[in-house]
């Protein structure tokens, strides 16, 4: 059910010719993925998914649609040859991946599971021992800072051009 919601709205998101509708379908698809995370009992990651994707990125995309697009304007129709070739390539890749998937058997470990509770995640995230993720955490924070500064620089530079 959740999978059907995710996939159908994903397909509609990439094929809808009204850009605003396709953004809304993208939102439904992301909510479906968050539902799948909930279903797998990874509550924390589902909450992060809802906050960052549904609350952040989709709103950002909708704002940029409002800023750059005349409302109600249809996207131009794509060339049929391009669509056919894209569908062909995608179908071949999909079939190949599914073939590999069906042939391969995965071996699960039998170790004691570590539950993905928030306290476990926090311990792992900031521990500097083995299996700790302190260094990637710092690297990602530097990356986010760089992205922030980059956005500001890009936004500033255009001032002399437009004035």
């Amino acid at each position: 059910m959740l999978a059907a919601l995710t996939l159908v709205s994903g397909v509609l998101a990439v094929t809808s010719r009204q850009i605003f509708r396709s953004a809304i379908f993208l939102l439904f698809s992301l909510v479906g993925i968050a539902g799948l995370f909930f279903w797998m009992q990874y509550d924390f990651i589902a909450a992060v998914q809802i906050v960052v994707y549904v609350g952040g990125i989709t709103v950002l995309i909708i704002f940029s649609i409002f800023l750059t697009q005349q409302a109600g304007e249809l996207l131009p129709k794509q060339k049929i040859s391009r669509q056919v070739f894209a569908a062909l390539a995608v179908f071949c890749g999909f079939a190949l991946t599914l073939l590999q998937l069906c042939r391969h058997t995965f071996k699960a470990t039998t170790d004691q599971p570590l539950l993905p509770t928030v306290s476990n995640i926090g311990d792992r995230m900031l521990s500097t021992e083995e299996n700790g993720f302190a260094l990637p955490f710092e690297v990602v924070s530097i990356l986010l800072l760089a992205a922030l500064i980059g956005c500001i620089v890009i936004a500033l530079r255009s001032k002399p051009v437009t004035v």
Binding site: I19, F37, Y42, T68, L101, F133, L144
Partner: protein, 104 residues
């Protein structure tokens, strides 16, 4: 109806990945291409979480990778939208066909 397991999740994420790739191939609008990239990144997240849950439940590596992918996707979307809006200001259009020269 059998119990949904790892293979079902992997099937969903494969389908979502190729839906995103299809959108990336066919669309010529920068914002819709960005949306396709978001779909692809989400399918990768789904893969990480599924492998973490079903194959290596004693570690949390997949979960952390998913968290980092989400963070990087957020940064990437912010920068990409800043660039897109800048391009729209200078070109009055966000089709990739109309952005041929690399200066503005």
């Amino acid at each position: 109806m059998m119990e949904p397991g790892l293979y079902h999740i992997l099937f969903i994420s494969t389908a979502l990945f190729f839906i995103g790739v299809f959108g990336f191939f066919t669309r010529r609008n920068l914002i819709t291409m960005l949306m396709s990239i978001e779909l692809v990144l989400n399918s990768v997240n789904l893969n990480f979480i599924a492998f973490n849950k079903y194959l290596w439940p004693h570690k949390l590596d997949g979960l952390f990778f998913a968290v980092f992918v989400i963070a990087i996707a957020a940064a990437e979307a912010a920068v990409a939208i800043a660039i897109i809006i800048n391009l729209y200001r200078s070109h009055q259009s966000i089709d990739v066909e109309n952005a041929e020269e690399m200066k503005f």
